[in-house]
Amino acid sequence: MNKSVFLGALTVAALSAGAAAAATLDDVKAAGVLKCGVNPGTPGFAAPDANGVYQGFDVDICRAVAAAVFGDATKVEYVPLDSSQRFTSLSTGEIDLLARNTTWTFVRDVDLKNEFVGVNYYDGQGFIVPKALGVSSAKELDGATVCIETGTTTELNLADYFRANSMSYQAVPVATFEEAQSQFLAGACDVYTTDASALAAARSAFATPSDYVVLPEIISKEPLGPLVRQDDGAWGDVARWTLNAMIAAEELGITSANVGEMAAGTDNPEINRMLGVEGGLGDMIGLPNDWVVQILTQVGNYGESFERNVGEDTPIGLSRGLNAQWKDGGLLYAPPFR
């Protein structure tokens, strides 16, 4: 008897949780702050600086959404999340947006009831080797010892890749990114494999980065993107079009430097629609008409964010690669603002 009452109460609680979560944009506006789930520390993507202010490429998504909603990119409460907690935190409403280098997969999208709003970084698994090994392609790695983080998709990808190319390898299992680095530097393995962005970050920390090379092969698809709960399409639109605005702005040549000038009106109708000079797109999405202006003034366009956090002038030194605009041979292709 007691048990059924308890379960009943749980059901009611769960149902009301679902119902209350629906108008996220209104809730966020009422709270006056965007609760954004981030990685507690990935070089270049999210990390608190000396003043405790989060910086990074993923963090810029949170800041952009806050700029769009409030006109103030600082109105974000960052919730650092472990990879095991991130989806639970999102579905329980502890956070409104998850921007934590999360790979977009079928199960995460469909079964876990999330909505990925786009891809802000196309990553993939790569290899790093000491230059002294004299290897220039992953196809030459037959018989190598490989440092690999256990229980990850990278482990499975590695096995698949070596099998497909009928090569053999000897795995040196490690638990964390840090252990992997120290094992690799100590020479416990010939090769270290993980996501290419992490490899670049690891390499930048080595005492002599030039003694190590990242091999050209990328053996898996890791589209990383921000996501929201599936139950609120309107809120998903806000996040999706914030990301699209950053990408489209780069394509159209709007930067944080010239956005003020362009917001006065240009000859390009799409720019005018984006910046709220014409069309009233802001009203449709439930945001102030200058929402894109706020994003671009305070955060910048996709390219600016990329160069500031992970680009070639930073210690991480990632090249645009797949993350270039479609016109430059990359995969970034924002739908039109119309």
Partner: protein
Amino acid sequence: MSNLDAETVQFVRETMIPPSAPPGRETGAVKWMRENLFSSWFNVIMTLLAIWFIWHFFVPMIPWFVNGVWNADSLRECREILDGRTGGCFAVLSERWKQLLFGFYPQTEYWRPILMFIWLAVAAAPIMFDNLPRKLLIATAIYPFAMVWLIWGGSIWGVLSVAAGFGLGYVAFKFADRKLEGLIPLLVGLAVAVVWWLFLRGPVAGGLQSILPFGLPSVGSRELGGFLICLIIGVSGIALSLPIGIILALGRISNLPLVKMICVGFIEFIRGVPLITLLFVASLLLNYFLPPKVTFDLVLRVIVMVTLFSSAYLAEVIRGGLAALPKGQYEAADALGLSYWQAQRLIIMPQALKISIPGIVNSFIGLFMDTSLVMFIGIFDMLGLAKAIRANTAWIGIYWELYIFIGLVFWVCCFGMSQYSQWLERKLRTDHH
């Protein structure tokens, strides 16, 4: 004629010969080494092994400390300054030590946690040393409320009104105690306090705040971190788990089957679950069970879980102390006509707790160390911060400097606790060896 007669004894010395220095091999460093390092063949071998060990493992570390760089903006800059020599990059500590101690606490408000540290010392002193003036206990009684207000800020009336609940409950208890018998006054006091907290406190505090606004800027739980969060969780956990542990221990050996069952069930359940599981429940599952919009503060949830966990272990430690007391002590208390609680307070507990001191302190040190597990639920303790600091492009790849600092902070705290407990044991010794 005696032998001592002046005529038979030629010479009588009238002053003592000054003691001559002992032979060289019986003094100072040589003697100490002979006795402690080279007293037997076995010890000679062990000493040589130890010297070899120190030479090979610790001497190479000296340049690492001596060459350490304290002023640089990044690990790369450290490496440039060192220019190939071995040396630590302690610059990360000069840049981030405040963050390691206070987390993301706003820098302009640092005086608040610092005042809290000092107040903690003052509040703990009269409990730890009985030769201090008893009036200091007032500072101890105010401390819990002061700590909450100092750390989290907000209106002072919020905290005062919670404190007032205790006062009102106590007054009601005293009043009822004069007229009524048994447990009823206690229940009356409790009821008054609960009614105050649930229904009257909010409006009264709000009203007072609007008439007489006074408060500190609010600081969210997410901004706490580093050593500060360890201290908050550790101290709250220690202070709350000791009384709960004592009650659980007494409950477990109680003759009342219901009480006993509940206590045994609780202790065995908590001891059967790892702390990290409880913390995950606190951080994730509670959200599913609570109605939407009802959110408990994350730090509060952690304190509750840590307290429950630690009290179950303490209960068993104290039960060990109770079991070690001779049966005669219990019988003597009964023979004196003391009630159950009087006997516990005057005879049983002082002895049982004294016996349990090493175990209790052991649990406390364990609890304090366990606070670093909050890293896994997204609270930045010192270890979590070390990870976050390493995620900055300036400091990727820096390990030892941060870990040594953190280890040192923990060691100072835990060594302090252990020294205090040994002092307490010596002070409470009643046998005469």
